[in-house]
Symmetry: C2
Subunit: 226 residues, 2 copies
């Protein structure tokens, strides 16, 4: 299989599109984690699953203030605040991520507008990828299935209540950034008829490898024969 | 593939053993639900997955007071009490299941003694199958992986704390028999390094079909190359 990786820019937003074949293949939007970017190893690994294993198309972009994008004064203030603190990081990260979401949702929508003609669209992103992805899934009807998780705030629970598509929600039982009850409350809030919670022991960054296999199967099931 | 189904009896306990091939194949013990028996449709469906899809051996037995086994006065008392009540059934079922477990654990162990020579051993049973299966997994070191769920009592949480093998734990978010917090407490209590919670919307008997696929893969992963 020949895979192409095309870099693009939509407005100020740099992105990359991985493609294995047909223009009508399903498309998966990949949201990176906090402090990461569109070509972070975890994003590229998911792109390989989506494109090589499933034959779908994948798109990743840099979130505001991340990757190749400049940091504005708000980004700088949050990054400095996060670096200066030790514990608890959770509320600080949650505030910053909520601010990023208001910028990121219209950016993702513009990227979708700029890439017409694909098959069904899914979203796959946890942590910051869900702080942006849950408001996006709530606002954007072109997205029809989403792998989300590792977040838990009241604002995200409110956004989750507007989501009705099939959702896979990942939760780390010993997450040092997301209180367990707050993560469970986001799962509870989704209005989706189909929503599955997968919880595992471990800290925020310790998602076990079989959850990636399982997320891939979830997207295959919902996007291949929707 | 030629599948044989052999009926057997170990002491007073009637059982059936499905086998596709080698005597050294992994073995999965199948625990049926309350009011069901060793040849209930849900048990046979799991046996087909384990034997046809995985090439493993499967064994199911009738729980005390179930299937081809006589009811003793304790069974009759509980059945009458359960039939006479409408709500809440949960505590009544939990008490009866706990009583059954003290009888069922040594019976499963005798069945294992009577079937030596197989590969790694797993257990797959939810609801009553877990009310008996969690104490069994806590007591029986031959069992090395288990699919459990749809239960939540303090006694089972205490038994779960003695379980250290990889566990898949299923929870129905709107279970009318098992309070959500009680189910989460059982998951929390397992001492296993690897334990994954899968939660889905719906009532006690509404486990979605993809969880059976996923449970099959879990057992394949742990029993085929342990």
């Amino acid at each position: 299989m020949h895979i192409t990786a095309q870099h693009f820019r939509v407005g100020d937003v740099p992105g990359v599109r991985w493609c294995a074949g047909g223009d009508d293949a399903p498309l998966v939007l990949l949201g990176h984690g906090g402090g990461q970017h569109k070509l972070a190893p975890s994003v590229v690994a998911r792109a390989q699953r989506v494109v090589t294993n499933l034959g779908f198309t994948a798109i990743a972009i840099d979130a505001p203030g991340h990757g190749d994008r400049p940091r504005d004064p708000e980004d700088e203030r949050f990054v400095a605040a996060i670096r200066a603190r030790t514990e608890p990081l959770g509320p600080l990260v949650a505030d910053y991520n909520a601010a990023l979401a208001t910028r990121a949702v219209p950016e993702w929508q513009a990227v979708l507008d700029a890439h017409p003609g694909h098959g069904p669209v899914g979203y796959w992103g946890v942590s910051l990828g869900s702080a942006l992805g849950i408001p996006l899934a709530a606002a954007e009807p072109r997205i029809t299935a989403a792998v989300l998780g590792l977040v838990g705030t009241e604002a995200l629970a409110a956004a989750a209540a507007k989501v009705t598509i099939p959702v896979r929600f990942l939760l780390q039982w010993d997450d040092e950034l997301v209180p367990r009850a707050a993560g469970l409350a986001v799962y509870d809030a989704f209005s989706s008829t189909e929503k599955t919670l997968h919880a595992n022991p471990g800290r925020h960054a310790e998602l076990p490898p079989w959850e990636h296999d399982s997320a891939e199967r979830f997207l295959a099931r919902h996007l291949r024969h929707p």
